[in-house]
Symmetry: C2
């Protein structure tokens, strides 16, 4: 298989899982942190900052872009990436709902 059965879940569950999967890699977490830190929008210097090859970085950027978390605009020869504010707040809302729904009161387990 290797194929996720998305049809038996809600659109919200599938959407959140797509965003989480995009973030579920140390390189992509590092990329997001870099983009946020260097608020001038980072370009291809990610290859220098992280220790991964250029095609690998490019692929990780693509996945973040596919999930909608980041967006890129052409800036001359290089490309300027930044957080997509809309999707970022969608992520915050979705995660907030899930994480916040648990209240540490149960004495069950």
């Amino acid at each position: 298989m290797g194929l996720t059965k998305t049809e038996i879940f809600t659109a919200e569950q599938n959407r959140l899982s797509v965003m989480l999967k995009a973030m579920a890699h140390p390189a992509r977490i590092a990329i997001l942190q870099q983009i946020i830190k260097s608020n001038t929008c980072i370009c291809g210097n990610l290859v220098d900052e992280l220790g991964l090859a250029q095609p690998t970085i490019s692929q990780h950027l693509k996945e973040l872009k596919n999930a909608g978390l980041i967006q890129g605009t052409i800036e001359g020869v290089s490309i300027c990436y930044c957080i997509n504010p809309t999707v970022w707040s969608e992520l915050q809302t979705g995660l907030g709902m899930l994480l916040g729904s648990y209240k540490d009161i149960q004495t069950c387990c």
Copy 2:
């Protein structure tokens, strides 16, 4: 390959990515929601609630347990699963740092 280069990232980045990967599947999101909703700790009725086979559910539970997000205690014949409060708050902190570090002020992209 298929193998993540964890050695070039920080422990925090790797740890967060492990927790996110555990959550990055609609079935596992659904399982977490069920566990939280039925605060009496859910057991094997997940198989009925979700439309997945028993071995598949068992495997998803294992991955959530491996990431530390849930814990299970034997309750007679069945097993009682619940959220691990410590790891849950670790996750909230880690995600809060990452998500909160972005301020929507940039006019860059």
